[in-house]
């Protein structure tokens, strides 16, 4: 709304005749005032009577519109990362012959705690049992079969928080115990009797009265146990070691001890490459590395409102490659990390900084890279290294098959640029 505001100064000098005129006006303007009032009220009413009706399309006025451009990603590098697999929320154990992603076998390592003070004693008649908690529904592989496992002693030192896929673990040949996942109870627990030399050693050390000696010997002479899948197993289970317990079972009472460390490793069969496809696992055997900085420099000269990186998944091949009763665990999405990172495995596995999530939708993963490109183009802050990888998912093993940059255009990795196509720019 606009309003005029100005002041006009009128010369106040007047002659006598004009004053008389004004006096005359004073009399006659009483009637005029009433007319003004009448007019103003009428005018006001006429405006108040306005009201909205329907709207009118104005399609002959050319307005700006949203334009969609595609920039294909021609260069994708693949790098291999050695992931951290220790002390995750879920630890894999088992093996599965995945028709698409190849055979995968996982061994679980754990080391029970020992009593820190000499208040308890393991008596002769007492026995040891591992109460292993398994996730009931999360199964990678054949849901109709059972998986069997053997337990062996570990021969070398390892450390969960720094445990990587490449960490070497040697196992003894003595079978300490074994179980089948068919023995899982209604609480999701499997009870595994532990015996052999480990029983003898643990019992001996447990009963050492001197705390320091007990703990030192346990740390230096015992390296925990490994749960190894038997060859007959065709599925991978996931255990929550933080809720699993070592039970010391007596005649009348049972003591339980938690796990002081755990990890798992995987052995994956190398499969032949599939043309125009990328096989990606959330254990980072292959991670995509993109040069987004160069892509940003190739963008069309427009006012873009959204730039998204799109990866297409070959859902057909993924869904049809499994037999009946076989299943894979869904990877909840992909992540992009952008920056200069000292430890890529840590960044990919545990960091929440410099992350852009690529949520899955209808067989594709879309990453909003608008802010990154805005920063590069409008804030003189060039995009750094960009990596894309499947979400770690707390230890659950998952894989995806994506179309590569050699795939047909509608499936190729690409940047989708939504920009305002202004009339002034046409």
């Amino acid at each position: 709304m606009c309003q005029l505001n100005f002041r006009i100064t009128i010369n106040q000098s007047r002659n006598r005749n004009y004053k008389e005129d004004c006096h005359h006006m004073f009399v006659t303007n009483k009637a005029a005032s009433k007319r003004w009032l009448t007019f103003s009220v009428l005018a006001l009413l006429s405006i108040t009577a306005c009201e909205e009706t329907n709207t009118v399309g104005v399609d002959f006025i050319q307005e700006s519109a949203i334009q969609v451009d595609t920039v294909f990603i021609d260069q994708i590098d693949l790098i291999e990362i050695d992931p951290y697999l220790g002390q995750l929320s879920y630890s894999a154990l088992g093996s599965f012959q995945d028709p698409l992603f190849g055979e995968i076998s996982s061994t679980l390592y754990f080391k029970p705690s020992i009593n820190a003070s000499s208040t308890d004693t393991v008596l002769e008649y007492m026995r040891f049992e591992m109460r292993l908690h398994l996730m009931e529904d999360e199964i990678y592989g054949d849901t109709s079969s059972t998986a069997e496992f053997d337990v062996y002693r570990i021969q070398n030192s390892w450390h969960g928080p720094s445990f990587r896929q490449s960490t070497e673990v040697n196992l003894g040949i003595e079978r300490i115990g074994g179980f089948s996942d068919a023995d899982i109870d209604t609480n999701g627990n499997v009870h595994v009797a532990l015996g052999g030399s480990w029983d003898a050693f643990y019992r001996e050390v447990f009963n050492i009265e001197d705390d320091s000696t007990r703990l030192t010997r346990y740390a230096e002479e015992d390296f925990g146990l490994a749960i190894v899948p038997k060859n007959t197993s065709n599925r991978i289970r996931f255990a929550t070691i933080s809720t699993s317990r070592l039970l010391v079972i007596g005649q009348e009472d049972t003591s339980s001890y938690g796990m002081q460390d755990w990890a798992y490793n995987i052995e994956r069969e190398v499969v032949d490459p599939i043309p125009n496809r990328l096989l990606l696992h959330n254990t980072f055997e292959q991670v995509l590395k993109l040069d987004l900085k160069s892509l940003g420099e190739q963008l069309p000269n427009t006012n873009f409102v959204r730039a998204e990186l799109v990866l297409e998944e070959d859902t057909t091949r993924a869904n049809t490659s499994l037999s009946e009763h076989e299943q894979r665990l869904n990877v909840p999405g992909f992540r992009m990390s952008e920056g200069d990172f000292i430890d890529l495995a840590y960044q990919f596995g545990f960091s929440d900084n410099n992350i852009i999530n690529g949520y899955p939708a209808k067989g594709r993963f879309r990453f909003d890279v608008t802010r990154l490109l805005n920063d590069q183009i409008y804030n003189n802050n060039p995009i750094k290294n960009s990596y894309i990888y499947p979400y770690v998912n707390a230890g659950y093993i998952g894989s995806n098959i994506l179309y590569s940059n050699d795939a047909p255009p509608d499936k190729r990795p690409r940047l989708i640029i939504h920009s305002i196509q202004s009339e002034e720019l046409k």
Binding site: M25, N29, S40, S46, V56, Q62
Partner: protein, 447 residues
Amino acid sequence: MLDILLNSCTLPRAASNKTALLALLIFLLSSPLLLAQIQSSNLYSSGSIYSAYGIGYPVEMETGSAKSHGIFGVTSVNQEVAGLTNPAFWSQTYYAQGASGIGLHSIQLKNTSSSGESALFEKGYLQLLFPLKSSELGVSVGLYPVTRSNLKIINEEQFLSYGDTVRYNSELQQMGGLNKFEIGFGWKLNDQISIGYAPSVAFFSMEKSEAFSFSSSLYSQQKQKLTLSGAAFSQRLGVAGSFRNVFKTQDKISVGATINVPFSMTLRQDFTTEKEIESGSKTVDLSNILTSKKGEMSLPLEYAAGIGYAPHTRFNVSIEGQYQQWSDYSNDLVDNDGAVMADRMRIGLGAQFHPYKKAQSGFFSSFKYSAGLSYDSGHLTIQEEEIRTLWLHTGLGILSRSPSSIDVSVRYGFRGTTESNLIEENIWAIGLSVNLAEIMFLRPKLQ
């Protein structure tokens, strides 16, 4: 506006006009509020849709008195206000005058399938007129719009994103136009002929903003703004003739003509938007994506002429014509959006009755009555359709025995067509002009 009214009378009159002032104050203050309600949710609102083209729709600069009987102010017969249109009339001023006007347009619009309303409250001209030599040489200082674009269009569109329909609203708001600040003079050559010259600074300022909002949360709201500005020297000339006792005693013929010299202006445009970056939101200059940042605008030749006849002081009739050569208009920066600029012809015919000039009593004898008709061929041809306007004019003049006056004009216009899916506008236009006049220099009477 209140200031004008407060200063327009001496103290006794100011006291007497309290009721009138109060009424007018209510009227003026209420208008914007009411209009705000009207405009709140229109798909298209604020002024004529045809002001979207070029640099806006040409604005009439005539006084309220001229506007109320369909003429443009090229001639002046029985008129109390010199006006801006013809600089030659500035020579005839005896009083120091201040004049201004405001207008309210209520537009009912329709195409072949729907209808709607829009409204516009617009400020008009401002003129100060000083007699350097009474009734012989006058100087005018004026500030007035030449073209005006004032509209808002909300457009609903959609696009497909992987099979999902993403709807978005784009709100286009375009405001501004060409204005002139003018200092000119009128000089009376002899009892019949006057001439005038008005150089001015023409300055152009227009802002076109577009805001986009999306139905999907994946897309954040966007706003971009294009501003255009420029200034140039322009000039116009006027000539007027006044002849008394032509056909009979006390009759009067007034003729006049004006010419606006074409001129060019260098325009500069800037394009900005808001961008989300790491540290928050930032206004960024996107002018580099414009095809050009500077460009030339050429405004066309314009001339007008008219004749008015008053058989006596209480009645006058006038006919005037105006021609604007818009086909010569060019603009490197502002696209015409598919419209073709066409030469514009305006013809106006009207009459006025001044019963108050004869001593008689009665309510209806206190006003000046005006009526007229005007035709405007328009300056736009869109999809091969000329955007013409036919106006019916009427108005009331509220006068006092002093030279000050108020003119209320009411017009009804038919603009455009529904052919080719264009829009026809039926316009109610109410104008209010205030002319304040006082003797500027008073010679002391001889004792």
